[in-house]
């Protein structure tokens, strides 16, 4: 392989080569980020715990279940631990900074969610303070919060004070990192009792009850049996329940937003097509401009295979350089986007699987883009190629 010639040809049109490399880099970075988002989005389903169930109202996720249900559920055979999970819907600051917050039962939460690992503070400190909360390290980084900081939120679901403008105050008592990709690091967990006490004393308004209950079951029990038993228990209650596995609950929750992964991957596919035609056009132009040079090489004794391979390798090298740049760009882009994305795509990460897929696609792109001019170069007769204008 005449490498010197190959690289000189690429450098012969530095602007065109640089633009091709840059367009591949940007496209690959975008492709990786979109794919990482789609994977992160579905990871909440794919990696959901097998021994956790979610109980919600059969009417709607927005209809609360009576608090009395919790004790009754704990009597069902196979149920080991339960916690309330109450969506708070709070906003931070005047500009509507939004992230997810849930009121939970602290003891049960610590027992059930082993993937939530405190890297600062402790569950004891969290438990010991009614207004205490634990926050993800992504959230801490985003807002610059540290242990002991006060976080003031206003909630439209549980408004406080006159006009609902009074803020709820939480104190950061723990910062967690997620040990599994089904859990994001952009969420706040606080004591459900803080809401209940505020409602009971009239300090806040809102519906009583719990939005959902999360249940941990005995791993030796069949989940379907426990689900049926719970739903049967409240068949004639004030609220009928629908109990599902955590994975199914996550799937249903996500489907409310439409098929996001399909949308993201469709955009990625469109990006891919656009870049494919751009690279193909560059390589066809490069091959056509060099027809006479290829004729000279044929006259000197280079075989058709050599010539075709040279164009394919040139395309692959261009794509490879673009891809390596794209990987760096994707990693940087992911860091910038993580706080905004990981709330709904907890497993968002430019990991090995994302990179492998992106680089494989780039490799195929390079191969196909090089094949078109390569095949043309193979087919053209040396006497015809030599007649081309230089």
């Amino acid at each position: 392989m005449p490498w010197a010639l190959l690289f000189r040809n690429m450098l012969g049109h530095p602007v065109r080569s640089a633009l091709t490399v840059l367009s591949v880099a940007v496209a690959l970075a975008l492709l990786c980020v979109l794919d990482a988002t789609a994977r992160g989005y579905t990871s909440a389903v794919d990696l959901a715990a097998q021994n956790r169930l979610v109980v919600m109202s059969q009417v709607s996720l927005f209809v609360p279940l009576p608090l009395a249900y919790q004790q009754k559920m704990e009597q069902v055979e196979g149920v080991q631990t339960t916690t309330k999970f109450q969506w708070f819907g709070g906003e931070y600051g005047d500009r509507g900074g939004f992230f997810a917050q849930f009121g939970v039962d602290a003891d049960a939460f610590e027992t059930m969610y082993k993937e939530v690992s405190l890297v600062e503070g402790s569950f004891d400190e969290f438990r010991g303070e009614r207004t205490g909360c634990v926050i993800g390290k992504g959230l801490a980084a985003q807002y610059g919060w540290a242990l002991g900081d006060e976080v003031r939120l206003t909630s439209a679901i549980f408004p406080r004070g006159a006009g609902g403008k009074e803020a709820w105050t939480f104190v950061v008592r723990g910062i967690y990192e997620a040990k599994r990709k089904n859990f994001d690091e952009q969420t706040m967990f606080f004591h459900f009792d803080y809401i209940r006490d505020s409602l009971e004393t009239g300090a806040a308004q809102g519906a009583e009850g719990a939005g959902t209950y999360a249940i941990e079951i005995d791993p030796n029990m069949r989940a379907e049996t426990v689900m049926s038993a719970i739903d049967a228990l409240f068949e004639n209650g004030p609220q009928r329940t629908r109990t599902t596995s955590e994975a199914e609950f996550n799937r249903q929750f996500m489907s409310m937003m439409g098929n996001i992964p399909l949308l993201l991957r469709s955009i990625g596919g469109a990006v891919l097509f656009a870049i494919f035609f751009a690279v193909l056009n560059t390589m066809l132009m490069a091959g056509r401009e060099r027809t006479r040079d290829l004729g000279i090489m044929k006259a000197l004794g280079f075989k058709n295979g050599h010539i075709g391979m040279m164009l394919v390798v040139e395309s692959m090298v261009l794509i490879l350089i673009g891809s390596l740049l794209g990987v760096v760009l994707a990693k940087g882009l992911a860091e910038v986007m993580r706080p905004f994305v990981s709330g709904f795509a907890p497993g968002f990460a430019i990991d090995g699987a994302v990179l492998a897929q992106g680089l494989t696609i780039a490799g195929v792109l390079g191969l196909v883009s090089g094949l078109a001019p390569g095949l043309r170069a193979i087919r053209i007769l040396p006497v015809h190629a030599l007649r081309e204008d230089a």
Binding site: R8, L11, G12, K298, L300, G301, F302, K303, L381, V383
Partner: protein, 235 residues
């Protein structure tokens, strides 16, 4: 060893605009090894086509083309490529150097196909450039050379693999008289000193004067072969 060239009943036609043009018509021609031939004739007489057939760049429709013991008709395009790399060197009117490579890299290009180490390739390319008097310009790109220098680099490239046959298509067509004479003297020296068989297409009678013999083609047929009794530059 000087290599003769023999053509028997060679016919070659091209289709242009739905019309078939017979460029070479049952041509018989024998060229001695180690002789410098000029090939002359009016435009369209088949000179370049003949050169392409002898150089294995194209196949004839019928007949036989043999260079030394090699019958080119029997070879596939891949075998012809391999044969060209070892047996024939080309010099074109437009020089046909690769613009992105230096003079030495252009000369090294055909050597990439030979089983040589990098240092051997470099050494052989420098020797070829020295032979045409351009060793001091080996790092220059074609655009940094004059037309005559470019053509000398092209000659160095043609002889780098030490082929026994050199084919030159109007090698002085783009050069002034003085430069053309210098190039022709190099070709003549390669013939005299290294016993190369040279076939040179030209329209220029003065250029033909450097050859031992002149072949005249007319409408695809052999006109006559003239022995040059007053060879230019010969001692």
């Amino acid at each position: 060893m000087a290599v003769p060239i023999n053509l028997r009943s060679v016919t070659k036609s091209y289709s242009r605009g739905g019309e078939t043009l017979r460029v070479l018509d049952e041509l018989d021609l024998d060229m001695d090894g180690g002789t410098f031939y000029a090939l002359m004739g009016p435009s369209g007489s088949g000179k370049t086509t003949l050169l392409n057939l002898v150089g294995g760049l194209d196949h004839c429709d019928s007949g036989h083309v043999a260079v030394g013991a090699d019958n080119l008709n029997d070879m596939t395009s891949s075998e012809l490529a391999e044969w060209r790399s070892a047996n024939v060197g080309f010099v074109f009117q437009g020089f046909n150097l690769l613009p992105v490579l230096s003079a030495r890299e252009n000369v090294e290009l055909p050597l990439l196909l030979a089983p040589l180490s990098k240092s051997q390739r470099r050494e052989q390319a420098e020797r070829a450039l020295e032979l045409v008097g351009l060793k001091d310009r080996m790092k220059h790109k074609p655009r940094e050379l004059s037309g005559g220098q470019e053509q000398r680099v092209a000659i160095a490239r043609a002889i780098a693999t030490d082929p026994q046959v050199l084919l030159a298509d109007e090698p002085t067509g783009d050069l002034d008289r003085e430069t053309a004479d210098a190039v022709l003297q190099i070709l003549q020296r390669l013939n005299r000193e290294l016993d190369k068989t040279i076939l040179m297409v030209t329209h220029d009678p003065q250029a033909a004067g450097y050859a031992d013999k002149t072949i005249h083609l007319d409408k695809g047929k052999l006109g006559r072969i003239e022995e040059n009794t007053n060879i230019t530059g010969a001692n």
